[in-house]
């Protein structure tokens, strides 16, 4: 018995474990930059819950002002403070979802719920297709193929044409369009993981199919799923922006970035910056998520090697 193994090491606390895991982010410069951008917006979102410079929906100022000391980013065509609206715009993406027909909001933004929805649905389908194989696989993949065949925006349009506008419909649309991609990812991961001997071990113990799928396979798909989820939040923000731009996204008046672009473009000759700000916000958040995901993916593969 080797000597060094007898000296018992102090067990790391949960926090330390978390920090050890989180620290892999800092290994990568790309991931660090990406995470900083994302955290910046998350922070903005939380701040906007309690404070924005002005009421985002109040027309308190002259219309179409450029940036100035009172309104740091200027005002829009209705004399509303753009900075306040930009800040508030993070909420509906990241922090809260309005339920239809009431003032009640649930925590978690539309993008977040949409992505969680597609992750859950996709994981369920992907695990069953990948692990069970056979007919399960054939049928699930055929259905997913059909869903994937829809161009994303067309599916959004169809869903919205059928069900009308609203936060929940947007969530549903994001879920439906995202699920096939997640399912394919999870399926391929499951196909890989299920060849591992520890799955054989679980099978030879007579574990149930659900135990194997969710307890043995799923935890090992965490990394890629996390990365994929992050990219998907980016897509979702993009999609919400696009729907907002097309005027069929989240209902006004609460600011949503795509809608801000759409409103601002009509006044673009009076105020070009009013288009630029929300555009930069969307782009930076998407880039941030992309970088974060890219860096994380790189580190995770390195880590696993």
């Amino acid at each position: 018995m080797a000597v060094q193994s007898m000296t018992t090491k102090r067990q790391p606390s949960r926090w330390e474990k978390f920090w050890n895991t989180a620290s892999i982010v800092f290994e990568s410069r790309v991931a660090t930059v990406g995470m900083s951008i994302v955290l910046f917006w998350v922070l903005v979102a939380f701040i906007s819950l309690f404070w924005t410079p002005y009421d985002p929906n109040a027309s308190n100022f002259t219309q179409n002002l450029g940036p100035n000391t009172t309104n740091l980013l200027g005002t829009d065509h209705l004399g509303r403070d753009i900075l306040s609206r930009l800040m508030q715009g993070t909420q509906v993406i990241l922090l809260k979802t309005r339920l239809p027909g009431s003032d009640i909001s649930i925590p978690g933004g539309v993008a977040i719920w949409g992505v969680l929805g597609s992750l859950s649905l996709g994981t369920l389908l992907g695990l069953n297709a990948g692990y069970r194989g056979g007919w399960w696989d054939q049928i699930i993949m055929q259905v997913l193929d059909a869903l994937i065949a829809f161009p994303r925006i067309v599916l959004y349009l169809v869903v919205i044409a059928a069900l009308g506008q609203g936060d929940l419909v947007v969530i549903l649309a994001i879920t439906i369009t995202g699920a096939p991609g997640v399912a394919r990812l999870v399926r391929s991961l499951a196909l890989d993981i299920k060849t591992r001997d520890y799955i054989r071990a679980a099978e030879t113990r007579g574990e149930s199919v659900w135990y194997i799928m969710f307890r043995e396979i799923l935890p090992n798909a965490r990394g890629p799923l996390l990365v994929d989820g992050m990219l998907r939040v980016g897509y979702a923000i993009f999609a919400i922006g696009t729907l907002g731009f097309l005027g069929i996204g989240l209902p006004p008046p609460d600011p949503d970035w795509g809608n801000m672009v759409n409103e601002a473009r009509r006044n673009i000759f009076a105020n070009q910056l009013a288009v630029i700000w929300p555009a930069v916000a969307i782009a930076s958040l998407v880039i941030g998520l992309n970088l974060f995901a890219d860096g994380l993916r790189e580190e995770l593969t390195r880590y696993q090697k």
């Binding site: 929906n57 027309s59 065509h77 003032d103 506008q165 209902p251 006004p252 008046p253 009509r266």
Partner: protein, 557 residues
């Protein structure tokens, strides 16, 4: 000042009331516009009337097209951006865009000009009896259809027949409810048609310019695209809904241009179906020459753009705040009045329409209506409003703020108005929730919501719009507020049969008072509309309902 060449006797020959009106004009009791309207209404030719009007006051005709300056040039193509939908029977038209297409081929008996004055067009003149129940329509002679036929009373009789035929399904049928059927329409001779109204209505000339009211050829079979026979200045070359419409100049048009040759000056018209945003960009980049009915934001974008001339026109179009008086809390007049007092009209106009419009009372009568009774525009008074609401709340035993939901559509400037109102009404004690949906969603329920903002289009006379929405019989149709008032209705009926503008103005004063005092609507402003056209096009007129009148437009290349 030179003596008018039209003597009072000549005026009296046309109609006994005209000399009186002219006196009033001279004394400044009525505006030039009201005189014009009155005189032409009574059958005077527009040229004569405007001549008189010009003598009466030095006021320049507002919004009228600029006189051809310098030498008129002929030729050129005029391209416009406008949505194009399915077209078949012109009498069934339900949207102005379609009318703008048909208008280039077919023409109306009368013409309500940009200055809101109606004059004869395919008519030589008209005469109304004193009780305004008998109308004599004298047709212009020498007008030819583009298939070579002469324009005669048979065409007019056929057209009336289409309007009054329920199978056709024309909205003219409802408008001309004073005609019980073709038995009320009499062909006197080939150029004279007489109408026998069941009850008097002063609006007959305006109705003849209602947009579905183009005169159709007597052999018309129901589809104007397949059978584009008209008296108009252009002929239809191509029509594809959702795509484009192409017109070519007609050689033998009946109107003469200033250069002595037949109109029109332009060779070709092209309408391209795009949405507004693309249309604005296209106009700015010079890909099209005009844009149908620019929105306020488009006005902002186009304002000051090089090479584009914007001509505004005042209208009676509005975005009307309406309250369901059969539902709480709007059944209480105090609550309604509190809401009215919560309007900072200047600010709302500024926010929603960039100040482009006329401030309004809380009555559905606009300054451009001839009989408008001018009153002071109410101030923004949240304290008074709050006092009313507190009284109401105390009575009901509820707490302020009063929670209400304001529904409207995400269309022109409704969200902006709603937003501004939400802010403005807060100190009054209202807590307004906004329920803003896409236009189609709102139109599904516009009469059902308890508090809403509805857009109302322009109608030349107040007596044309008030019966539609504020009478008992209109409940279930266009009466979105369910409000009616016996006193109000009595005055309205009287006004509908009163030809004399002054007398009608007196009635309007009472109508406006009643509506302000206990009416179901609030309204901050009357919209302006704009005509945005490339500057090289001359003689372009901005019309309150965005009609494209292109027969005498020319291009200064």
């Amino acid at each position: 000042m030179e003596k008018p060449r039209v003597t009072k006797r000549q005026m009296a020959e046309t109609h006994p009331a005209i000399p009186d009106a002219y006196d009033k004009l001279e004394r400044g009791m009525i505006s030039r516009r009201e005189f014009m309207r009155f005189a032409t209404l009574l059958g005077m030719s527009a040229g004569a009337a405007s001549f008189l009007a010009a003598c009466g006051t030095p006021e320049e005709a507002p919004g009228a097209g600029e006189a051809p300056s310098g030498e008129i040039k002929r030729g050129g193509t005029w391209t416009s951006s406008m949505q194009l939908q399915l077209l078949d029977h012109p009498a069934r038209l339900s949207w102005v865009e379609g009318a703008n297409i048909v208008r280039q081929i077919n023409e109306y008996l009368t013409l309500t000009g940009p200055e809101n004055i109606t004059r004869p067009y395919l008519l030589e003149r008209w005469e109304a009896s004193d009780d305004v129940k008998t109308w004599d329509l004298y047709l212009r002679e020498g007008v030819k259809w583009n298939n070579g036929d002469d324009f005669v009373a048979d065409d007019v009789m056929f057209t009336f027949g289409e309007w009054l035929n329920p199978d056709v399904g024309s909205s003219m049928l409802g408008l001309m409810s004073y005609l019980s059927g073709m038995q009320d329409v009499e062909k006197v001779d080939d150029y004279h048609v007489r109408l026998h109204l069941q009850f008097g209505d002063i609006a007959v000339p305006e109705h003849l310019f209602h947009y579905p009211a183009v005169v159709l050829h007597r052999d018309f079979e129901g589809d104007i695209i397949r059978q584009p026979v008209g008296t108009g200045a252009f002929t239809l070359e191509e029509y594809a809904e959702g795509e484009r419409a192409v017109f070519k100049r007609r050689e033998d048009y009946w109107q003469m241009g200033a250069d002595g040759d037949p109109l029109p000056y332009l060779d070709e018209l092209i309408y391209v179906s795009t949405d507004k945003d693309a249309g604005v960009a296209a106009l700015q980049s010079g890909q099209v020459d005009s844009l149908y009915d620019p929105r306020p934001t488009d006005f902002q974008a186009l304002q000051g753009a090089e090479g584009i001339t914007i001509r505004p026109a005042s209208t009676a179009q509005c975005l009307l705040g309406r309250m369901r008086v059969d539902l709480e809390p709007w059944d209480d007049v105090r609550v309604r009045n509190a809401m009215k007092l919560s309007q900072d009209r200047e600010k709302i106009l500024q926010l929603a329409y960039f100040g482009q419009g006329d401030l309004s009372l809380d009555a559905h009568v606009a300054p451009v209506h001839p009989a408008y009774c001018e009153k002071e525009i109410p101030e923004y008074d949240p304290e008074a409003a709050r006092a009313l609401l507190e009284e109401y709340a105390a009575e009901k035993g509820i707490d302020l703020p009063l929670k209400v939901t304001l529904a409207t559509k995400n269309d022109q400037a409704e969200p902006e108005i709603a937003q501004a109102l939400k802010e403005l009404a807060e100190p009054s004690g209202f807590d307004i929730q906004l329920d803003i949906t896409e236009p189609s969603g709102y139109w599904d329920r516009w009469t059902e919501v308890d508090l809403g903002i509805t857009s109302w289009t322009h109608r030349p006379l107040a007596t044309m719009v008030l019966p539609l929405a504020y009478t008992e019989e209109s409940i279930g149709a266009w009466n979105e507020t369910r409000w009616f008032d016996t006193e109000f209705e009595g005055i309205l009926r009287e006004a509908q049969g009163t030809l004399d503008v002054e007398a009608r103005r007196g009635l309007m004063c009472q109508i406006e008072d009643i509506m302000q005092e206990r009416g179901p609507i609030f309204n901050s402003f009357w919209k302006s509309v704009w005509n945005a056209t490339a500057s090289e096009f001359k003689n372009v007129k901005a019309h309150p309902t965005a009609y494209d009148l292109l027969y005498d437009v020319w291009k200064d290349v």
